[in-house]
Each structure stands twice: as C-alpha cells, then as structure tokens.
Symmetry: D2
Subunit: 340 residues, 4 copies
C-alpha cells in the first residue's frame, strides 16, 4: 500500500484525493491545505486521511509520495522539499514557473532515484492515446497541422496567463502525440483586466518543416469549446473533448498533388472525400490511468510517460510564448530562450 | 431598367447573374467569359443575356454597369477599363491585388462620378447587420475581441493565399461592425503544397487599445466551420454562419471587476452567467440586398456601404499580413506598410 | 428531347421546372397554373416554356409527359385526364386522395402502356439508397425498428393532415428500404385549430414479426428535426437529413443474447459498443436523379422505382392511419381497410 | 441529524448514499444489500455507515428513514415493512408494481403520520422547475402537446418494460408541469428478445381537451437522446437534458388563427417566428434538492412534492399503457383500469 500525501485542496486536489483513495494500491494518508474548511470538505469522502495545515508535518511523516496541487508559483519550493525528504512527487501542470526550476527538480529526483511525474492529465485519456497511435503508425500520413481551440468562461488565474493555464494541455498533447519539438513560437494575447495576466491568447508553434501548431486559449468566451483539428497528408482528425461518446472522428479526406510535366512548379491539386470513422475509445478514466501509472512507476522505479523532461519542455515553450506575446507576436526561437 | 454586364462565370459569377436577372430593376444584358461552355451554362437561366468572350465587346456596348467576378489578379485591369468606359463597377472581393491599385480605382471612379462597390457579401447578411447594431448601440459594452474560425476543405487558389481568400470576409465584417481600423498585425501560415500559396494561416489584428481580432483560415480542414466569438464587457456573441436558423446567440455572461481598497492593483474578478438570447434575423438573402443596394447607389449616385475605401483598407491589412507571414509572425504596423 | 408540361406552380412545382429545364434530355414546353403571377415567376428561369391557365390547352398540346404538382384532392382527376390524353405522368406525393383512385390510375396507365410515376423524392436521395443497400445486403442484420421524427413549423395544409403531408415520406422510405409491407397500424393525433386537419400525429406500423416502425409528424414544432433511427440485430443507423455532410451514421452497437442452460426462457443480455462509421454518400441531387429516372422510364418503357403500386400502398397505409386516428389509436389491420 | 438507512446498492443507491452522506442534516447510518462486494464499494466513500445483508437488522435499528433503491418488484414489501417499523420512506421510481400496492402504502403512511416520498428525480431539476413556472404563469399560453424522446443503448430490465423504466420520468414531469391527468392512453411496443419485456415503446396520453402527450422510449438505440418538445399557443419549448448549459430553449414561434367572416369554419392560419431565449437555470443538483426536501418533509411533517399520490397516478398510467400495448394500441381509458 503506497501512502500518499496531497498538498492543496482547491479545484483539482479533491479529484486526486478521490482517485488515490479509490485505488486499492494506495491510501491517502495525509492532506494539507492552509484553509481548514477546504481540508474538512476534501476529506469528507476520504476517511483515512489525516489533515494538516503544515507542509513540514507531512514531509516528516511516513508517506511515500507527495502530490502537489497548489498554484504554480509554489510548485518548485514544495516539490524540491518533498524530493529532499525522499518522497516521490506528482506535480500538477505546469511543472514550475521557470524551466530552470524544472531542471533543478529533475536533477534532484535523478540523484535520489525518485519518481518525478507531471500531471499532464490529457496524455492519459483514451482519446489522446488513440490519436498518438494513429499518428505513430502512419495512418494520418505526414502531419500537417495541430489546431486547437480551448476556450470557455473560466477562472482568471492571478499568477499565470491563459497560455500557462490552458494551452499547457495542448503542449503536452503535442509532445506526446507528435514526439517532436517546435523550433520557434509566435504568440499574441491581451489582458482585459488591468493588472491581470492575458486572458486571451493565440500561440503558433513552428517546427523544422511545414508542420505547424496553433492554440487559441480564452478565459472569457461565451461558450466552452475544446476542439482540435489535426491534418495529415492521408487523413484528418477532429478531436472534440466535449463530445460524450465520439470524441475522435477520422476523416478520409484531403488533397492529392500531381506534378504537371511541363510546368514543374505548378501543381495540379485534386480533392478526395471519403468516409468518416469514429473509433470506440478505451473508457478508462484518465485520472485512474494516471494514478495507476504513478503507482507503477513508484513500484518499478520506472520513468513516467509525463516525466520531468516533458514538463520542462512544455515550460520552455511557455516561456518563449510569454516573451513573444510581450512583443506582439515577434517570433522567438526556442534556442534563443534556452541559450542552446 | 439598369443594364448589367457580368465578367466571369466561375464559382461566384452565376450567383450574381441569377440575382441581377431576378431583380425587376435590372437586366443581365451581357455575360463574358473565355470559356464558351461556362457561358452557355451561366446563361441557361438568364435568357435575356447576350454572351461574348471579348471584354471590349462588353465595354463598348450600352450596358450601365459591369460586375467583375474573375480571379484577383485581373480585377485592377478590368475595373479600370470599365470605369474608363464610363461604367459603374461592382468587384468581387478582394478589391485588387495591391492597395496602390485600389487607390487608383477609387481615384478614377471619383473623378468620373461613377459607383465603385466591392462585393463584401457578408456585410449584407442579416446576421452581420444585427451584430453591427448590437455593437453600435452599446449592447455589448466595450468590444474586447473578435475571434473567427473559417475553415473547410476548400478550393486551393493559385494566385492568392488563404487569408486573401477566406480571412478577407472577416476583415470586411470587422471594418463594418467595429468601424475601427487595426494598427498592426501578426500572421503565421504555411503551405503544404510546394509552390502553392499558404493554405493554412492565423492572423492577429491589434488595435490602439486592448481590442484584438483573430482569424483562423484553412483550406485543408476535415470539416466546415464558420464560427465567430465576439466578446464584450457587457455581453458576448457566438455567430455561427452554418446554423440554419439561430446564427447569432447573445450571452449575458462575463466578468465583473472590483478594485480592492488596499491593493489597488489587485482586482477582484467576479463571474456573471445569465440568459442566452437568439434574435430572429431579417431573412432577406444577402445577395438580394446587395444587388438592390448597388442599383440604389447607381440610381441615386450614393456611396456604397462597401465602397472602394473599405475595399482598400481590407487590402492594406492583407498586404501587412503577407509581410508578417513571411517572417513567422513578426508584428507589422499598418503605417509601416502604407508609409503613413 | 422529351417535352414536359408542368401543372402547379406552388411550392414544389418550380423545383421540378428547374430540373427538367436543366436536363439536356428534356424541355419544359408548357406550364399551367390558375394564378398568372405564379406562372410568370415560375417561368422566369425557364424561358422556353409557354404558359397557360387552362389544363385542356396543355393536354391537347404536343407534350410527351405531364408533371402534376397540385393539391392532393386534384391529383386523380388531372392524372386521369393526362393518361387519357396519352401522356406519361409524374404525380407529386401522395399519389391520390384514396387508394381506389390509385388503383384506377394504375389500370389506365397499364392499359395504355404509359409511365406512371409518383414523386417520392426521398427514394432518390443518396442517403436512402445507401440505407437500402445496407439493409438489403444484410449489414444491419435483422431490422428491429424504423423510428422517425419529422417535425418543424410548417405550412398547415387545408385538405390533408400531417401524416398525409409528412409521414408519407417515411412510408415510401420504409417501402423502398425494407421491401416489406405492414399488416396493421395504430395512429393518434390532434388538431389544434378548429376545423383544420390534425397538425400533430404519431403513427405505429406493425409487421408480421417483431419489426415495428414509428413516425412522429408535427407541423407545429419549434425546431426542424428530420431524424430516423434504424435498429438492427447487427448494426444501427442514425439518419439525419439535416446534417450537411454526414447524413448517415452507422453504429456497430447492440446487444448479444445468450440462452442460459437451465432457465431456457431467461436470456442473458450483453452489450456491444464498437466504432461508428459515416459512409461518404453519392452527392447527386435527388431531383436530378429522379428526373433522369422518369426520362429513362419514358424512353425505355421501364417501370419506375416509385411506381403506381408503391404510391397505392402508401395511400392504403395513410387511409388506415386516418381510421385509427379517429378512434384514438385503435389498431387497424391493413386487410380491414382494403377488404383483402 | 436524521439517520438514514439505504436498501439497495445497485446503479442508483450509491448516488443516494453520497447525497445523504454529504448533507449536514443527515447521516447514512446503515446500508443494506445482499451482495457484500457491492456493500463494501458503496460505503467506501461513506465511512459512517454500518453494513448489513439483512433488512430486518436495519428496520429494527434506530434509523429515522429508509431509502429503497431496489428492483420494482420488491418496493411494496420493503416499503410496507419500513412504514410498519415506523420509518419514513423514500422509494425509487416507479413507486410499486401495481396501483393497488401504491394505495396500500399511502394508507399505511397516512395512518402512521409518516413521510412517503417517491424518487421522481426529474421533478427536482432546475430545468423541469423552470418549465413548470413557464407553464403555470401562462407564458406558453394553452399547452398543446408534450412530446418526449428518451432513448439510448440502456440496461434491459428483467422485471419491467421500457415504459416503466424510462417513460416513468416523463409521466412524473407531465404530472408536475401540467398539473393535469390524462383520461386515456394508447401504447404500442415490442420486445426484440424472446421472453424479455418490451424494449421499445411508444405511448400517447389523451387529455379531456386537445392536449396530447407522447413518449418514445427505447433501450436499444444507437445514440442517447433526451429531448422534449412542448408546444403552446404562445410559445414553444425545446428541453434537451443532455445540453450541458442550455437545457431549455423557449421559442417565440407559432401560428395565429383568424376567422374569416364569410366562411366561419375555414380558418386563416398565419405563422409567427420570433426570438429564441434560453434562461439561465438554477444549478442546484437535483438529488441535492430532493434529499433536502425529504429531510424538510420529515422535520416539518410536510407532504412531499412527489408524494405517494403522484407515485400512484404514474403507476396507474403505466398499468393502462401495459394493457394497451398488449392490444397493439387499443385506447384504454384511465377509468377503465381503475374502475372509477
């Protein structure tokens, strides 16, 4: 039985508590939050958990792993303390406020042989895993683009902008599905509340070929949209995360390009329209798969699918996006930011 | 009875022919195209029209007005010849290949007292007119953003990229609805066919305050989407042009911002969720309203709602976007391009 | 060139005129309506057509075939006169006001060797033809049910109720797709306008096994719905005629039934959920296919797919439904009505 | 603190357990099921609950109220025993297997002054309460019809048919919203599994005027649909329970009827198309409102909104429907069945 401590009982923490409590291989031994009312509420359905408002109490207890579900600005300090106390760590996304902090955490976990996992939940959904399968086995052909709209009337975060809050999901999906890293970004965005981070932003990722990715993220939209178009040379996908049953639709559609003999630079473009197909998806709850994977990694000292390295790459892209956004879309090379 | 000559029997020309033929105040007197088969087809339902493959024949005839529905690259030459022949002119969008050409056409029309109108059809839809009314009478409050997705598996144009073909609609709508002009743009886009213009592009328009506009245009999408979100400080709109009956939905949703006494820079953000309302829209066909307006302008020597000046401003933005796209989103000031 | 005369320029007539005018093998030679304004309007796009307000003038002319697009109550008299004048006949659905009238028309056409076709347009759509193919080749397994909702805010007919106006479409589809005939019906419906036929009705068709069909028809609905569920032992279909591109979705879903050894009458039911598939449909316009078929039948003296016999069977079911509706759903055997 | 005992840990029981556990005014003191695995599972998140496989143990304990979430066939016996043991009772719908049993339970509860409530959950949703408000305050005008489609691939029940399982929801909504009772029913339905109750059924309810209600219920549908159209003389409603945010849309649409002077029996029907409006709904969870109401009724000896009388009327309609279904839709008067 792996003993889990959870820090943070805000929006996401209770979901993690519920899942680790519900898993036969783990017990939620302790829960920490500064607000006693939230603590009481969060443990109402997790009767085995002790509560504390003091992180040190948790870190000196006999728990095996710490789950961090607090605001981003506190991730680094809490995760570092947990690793130094010899605990495995699962951190809510994004991993930390800077990529330098990410690197430091990876180093500490590696040195101590501890599991360091980032809670990029979408990677554990049946939909995203199916998309990865379709891309990796060549069904889509060459991937042309990833184009996501992720908007709703959502909680305005105080410490991070809308890209760090929403586009972060797409960045982890892109990393997982494509297995490739962008070389530059251009981002534009605005804040409509004085003193608050950007609540609306558009992010383009450039790769070293014609592949392009785009994310439209918005906290101030009238409706909720979670839809991604993925275009390939052979097939195209519509991934709508709000569809209850057919989240992925695969279209056998596209263009055909034929060179014309005499005018080699003028292409003859044809259009192909075929069937649509919605595969039945694995219905395991993403958080269930994720908690199982975290427990597996601890038991077998495995590297998680959403490890620190992925977490760091995502933060690097977000840092470059922030830089670009301040200059109205100026392209920022990933190497520019990281000095590579 | 105003006698109309139509040049170009491709995709759009036949719609214009049908409308001018169906209007009691006009007759389609002549139709011109290089392809006799297209000519025969286009006039099957317009029995009064003579046909010709020679533009000069049309321009020396007794028609009153010329409607130009040819590829963009030919707009300038044809429109100039028509104006010089003393004919009123309606040009399909975009108005011309460069803003310099637009300026020259405006000058010629003004000098001769002729009507010069650009076929920005969306301006004549019941939906866009209702949105303008809602914005102009203050129902939306301050407009925060205009965010449009306009994608489908569409015809790859040979002479213009996807922004000139699709985003052009949004630019005319923005001009008409907001009555304001952007100060800078950032655009990114790619071509997935060697030697072909960009088939996928993202365009951000910056204004001199926090207003922002964004257009996602794509010829290579698996599904057709025509959806625009418009956010305001009081209300927000979803405009879905593919909805058969409720194209506009107005959401009484948003945020409230309260300053906190002691920390003046820290805002307290509240969320407001109220009713949704879909106004019944005027059902006049847009092309019908547009042809009527063109005929009115000719009869009364009026300035059209979509006049040359609007056509020119749209082309200026497209030119700036093309410049930005070549440099992966580098922000381009509108003044930079036009030398203002 | 087959010369066509069209009687009736109401809602549907102009569509038929447009199609026969547009077909290279036919010409619309004459159009008849009592209202000169409608006549002028209907022939605006069909310049070859003479107009008349007198049916006799048309029937004594040299046309080859008559298309009847008038109210139901006049179908019989007009069609009989046309047949007696030696013209082939295409009648808008439903074929006639009584099945006895249908029988008389069939007899007359047969005797004279003329084509008698009923305009059950849905039979000529790509969607319905694909459904028939899926049913006939066994993909669906045993067909369990056909369940259609066909409602909108529609024109209240004066001479027929909503089943004769809307459910008639489903009856022709059922005839065509299943190739089987019901043995009894139960119908209920009400009128919400004094003196007007039922504007809302529900119709159940019983077959000689467990197959069942149901139609929900309504002229007074707030939204337009055209959706049919078809359940089979192997697969199930959702047919939504308002979907622009994916009208048919085929679900690999259902139940499995296993007998349990000891309790032979207690079945163990399992549930099967697989992929969904939307086949690309033939995009030929239904009216185009139908007019071509009518011309083929005339040229080759073929029996139409929607011949008089199908038209008569549809009217027989409608007669039985009317009887049942007057008695709040009392089941009416088809043989009861027809005396078979 | 009201002490609750829950009998039945199948599909619905755990939801009731969670709600009574989460309510500050009640405690789940005991849970009963024959299956120890289900008991363990159901109480994992309700740590205060004792478990038992013996109903008598629960009924002789010091609990105040019994919640019955077992198959229908056991409702009567369990509820009667609970009432005789002096416990308040909440029974899952439908109330019992026969209306005679319902009457007996009402009598027993009345005699002992105990609360007897039926778990018609939909009555406690924000959507249904808003519809009732719109109907009762006259916004809809005269109600013309209630037309519901409630289908999905659902669990085939062994002891009741699909009307008793699904249409029961509509019957409680109709009772609550209209406050009127039907006078006759016609039902048709079939079973596609030998020896199993009807899995597909259509039910029409007749009232003493032109109001009509219809329910289409199906366990073997390829997709889940929960949509009800409600037509009134002034406005019409679309209630789609699967819509995440706009469950109710109110259409200002309909017909106008004008008598014509000379032909008093011939009505002139006009069509009215206005705005659509989706009111923001109370977001209290239905089960939360229901458990609160049950606790209120116990504390104040109030009569519940979904009391035994409503439960009995619903069962009476279901009995009449079963009778009609056996005879292919023969109309059954409610008085015929109940001998009133």
């Amino acid at each position: 039985m792996i003993r889990i401590g959870v820090i943070g009982c805000g929006y996401w923490g209770p979901n993690l508590i519920r899942n680790f409590h519900d898993n036969d291989r783990s017990a939620v031994a302790m829960v920490c939050d500064l607000d006693p009312a939230k603590l009481a509420r969060a443990t109402r359905f997790a009767p085995t958990a002790q509560t504390t408002t003091d992180v040190a109490t948790m870190l000196t207890s006999d728990i095996d792993a710490v789950v961090i579900a607090t605001p981003v600005s506190s991730h680094y300090e809490l995760a570092l303390a947990a690793l130094e106390a010899g605990k495995h760590v699962l951190i809510e996304k994004p991993m930390a406020a800077t990529s330098v902090q990410c690197a430091r955490l990876i180093e500490e976990a590696t040195r101590r042989g501890l599991v360091l996992m980032v809670d990029h939940t979408f990677v554990y959904t049946g939909a995203v895993r199916k998309i990865r399968e379709l891309v990796q086995n060549g069904d889509l052909g060459q991937v042309y683009y990833y184009d996501s709209v992720r908007v709703n009337l959502g909680l305005f975060q105080h410490d991070v902008d809308v890209l760090w809050d929403l586009a972060v999901h797409d960045l982890s999906i892109i990393e997982y599905v494509l297995g490739r890293h962008p070389v530059a970004v251009s981002a534009s965005g605005v804040s409509h509340v004085t003193g608050s981070p950007a609540n609306l932003a558009f992010l383009t990722l450039f790769f070293d070929d014609e592949t392009v990715a785009h994310v439209n993220a918005n906290w101030l939209a009238p409706v909720k949209i979670r839809r991604t178009l993925i275009g390939g040379s052979k097939k195209m996908i519509v991934y709508d995360d709000l569809e209850p049953s057919e989240k992925i639709k695969i279209y056998d559609k596209g263009i055909t390009v034929a060179e014309q003999d005499e005018e080699i630079y003028k292409m003859l473009i044809g259009y192909r329209v075929g069937d649509m197909w919605a595969p039945n998806l694995d219905s395991v709850e993403a958080l269930r798969r994720e908690t199982d994977h975290f427990l597996d990694c601890i038991e077998n000292r495995q590297r998680p699918e959403t490890d620190g390295a992925m977490g760091q790459r995502v933060v690097e892209i977000l840092e470059a996006a922030s830089l670009s956004m301040r200059e109205r879309g100026r392209p920022v090379a990933l190497s520019e930011r990281t000095g590579k």
